[in-house]
């Protein structure tokens, strides 16, 4: 478990993750969720600066009852742009944050994944519960000693 304390987010995050434009339609976002099994996708501008996160909850949120229609219209809603429903000012983390501290944060806010940004808000990665679970296992698994390269005959 001590080794886990040495890990930082950048060691285990998904680097340069798939992201979506704020002008994309919700239909495209839904397809992303469908094909990649993401829980959320970062929303970025042309410079890959983070503008928000679009999660499955945000998508569902677009279908909640409101004052405008009696029944939500699927096709109309799917034509809305991502920026209209995304989570603005999402919780962000820095690549050098110790993984032990990220773990506290994920549990605390019950997030499934968080965008990793550098100074200037540039998106550099995404970190998920699964990444942390994997890192926990990796940090605590006794690895076999690698065979010495120079031990070959």
């Amino acid at each position: 478990m001590y080794e886990f304390l040495q890990y930082q987010i950048r060691d285990v995050m998904t680097v340069d993750p798939i992201a979506i434009s704020p002008k994309a339609k919700l239909r495209e976002a839904e397809e992303l969720f469908e094909t990649h099994d993401f829980n959320g996708v970062p929303v970025v501008d042309n410079q890959r600066c983070l503008l928000g996160m679009l999660t499955k909850f945000d998508l569902l949120n677009a279908f909640r009852f409101d004052a405008h229609t009696l029944v939500p219209h699927y096709d109309d809603i799917m034509e809305q742009t991502v920026e209209t429903v995304m989570t603005r000012e999402p919780v962000i983390v820095a690549p050098q944050l110790p993984l032990s501290r990220l773990l506290q944060k994920l549990v605390e806010i019950r997030a499934k994944s968080l965008p990793v940004v550098e100074e200037g808000h540039r998106l550099v990665g995404i970190i998920s519960r699964q990444d942390v679970l994997k890192a926990l296992r990796r940090a605590t698994t006794k690895r076999e000693l690698p065979a010495h390269e120079d031990s070959a005959p």
Binding site: Y2, E3, L5, Q96, L97, P98, L99, S100, R101, Q104
Partner: protein, 333 residues
């Protein structure tokens, strides 16, 4: 007059086992930083081992024997899940406590204005009869007791900015008006003590901070609670339990202090010391587990100690001002 640095090779030989965060590399990182040119004026000293008399001012005789009796001839022995000892741990612990006593001696005999003890194992979790939380003997408390016993100091303060609460120091002091213990720490983490309501005989000031607290919260705590308590108490000596694990990159907790905060806090403490006790400060290393953050934070802390207004200089300035004033009065009359 100068700043002293107490450290000993045995402290680097206290082996806590593979990968343990409280590791010898912590001291290596610190000493590498303090070995650079800006720290050339530091006077390095080897500490003696603490005597039984010094240890038992805080700890029970049986605690001392139990700890030293558990040091294995080889490999490791785990006192608890966190606290591991190995063959050289006994000497390391004795040198660590001895360093603080020697630093107290040097500062009270005016050989130096202040001192930093780069030692391990750390001490502030060690209770009078219980080793725990990486700690065997309570170095800072032992130094404080030494100052009171040998130099008849009426009041000694310990300020503890390690991210964990110093349950051991609190336990040692909470019945004794001669000590003030002031601590900032993250609430609800190890060791679980340090709630605001824990006030001893009015001589314990706990300022728990919520996770993700940072620079502004530290300043608020200082102005609201810590500085007023220190000035009310008027200590004759200030010891610092200097843990650097409230740093934003530390893996063992979730506060967000940075190097500037540690420098600022050190200067604030020195200003109080200048007013109350001729600048007498002995700082004692506790935690801090990100090696580069630890080295950088200790560096600004020690730099601030070195730049403390020198007691001799202050006395001189005071004398000159008084002479001028006397002269002016003479001329006026």
């Amino acid at each position: 007059m100068t700043t002293l640095l107490y450290t000993h090779a045995a402290c680097q030989e206290h082996d806590t086992g593979f990968g343990h965060p409280e590791c010898a590399a912590r001291l290596t990182a610190i000493l590498n930083a303090l070995g650079t040119v800006p720290f050339a004026a530091l006077e390095w000293r080897d500490p003696p081992e603490a005597t039984r008399e010094q240890l038992t001012r805080i700890h029970s005789q049986s605690h001392v024997e139990r700890v030293l009796g558990r040091i294995p001839k080889q490999k490791h022995y785990a006192i608890d899940g966190d606290t591991v000892v190995s063959p050289r741990s006994g000497e390391a612990a004795l040198r660590a406590a001895g360093a603080v006593c020697a630093a107290v001696d040097a500062v009270l005999r005016q050989e130096a204005d202040n001192a930093f003890c780069a030692i391990r194992p750390p001490g502030h979790h060690a209770e009078p009869a219980q080793a725990m939380g990486f700690c065997l003997f309570n170095n800072a408390a032992i130094g404080a007791a030494h100052a009171r016993a040998v130099y008849d100091l009426e009041r000694v303060a310990v300020i503890d900015f390690d991210v964990h609460h110093g349950n051991g120091t609190q336990a040692a002091f909470e019945q004794d008006h001669g000590y003030l213990y002031v601590s900032t720490h993250q609430a609800y983490i190890y060791p679980g003590t340090g709630r605001r309501e824990e006030r001893g005989v009015g001589n314990i000031v706990n300022v728990p901070l919520l996770a993700e607290s940072g620079s502004a919260d530290l300043r608020h705590a200082w102005h609201q609670d810590i500085e007023p308590a220190l000035r009310r108490f008027q200590p004759k000596l200030i010891l610092i339990s200097a843990g650097f694990d409230a740093h934003y990159l530390d893996p063992l907790a979730e506060l967000n202090f940075n190097e500037d905060d540690y420098e600022w806090l050190t200067r604030e403490i020195l200003a109080v010391a200048a007013d109350c006790c001729e600048g007498r400060v002995v700082s004692v290393l506790e935690g801090g587990y990100n090696l580069s953050a630890l080295a950088a934070s200790v560096a600004v802390h020690v730099k601030a100690l070195m730049e403390a207004p020198r007691a001799a200089q202050r006395a001189l300035v005071k004398e000159i001002l008084e002479r001028r004033k006397a002269k002016r009065n003479e001329n006026d009359s």
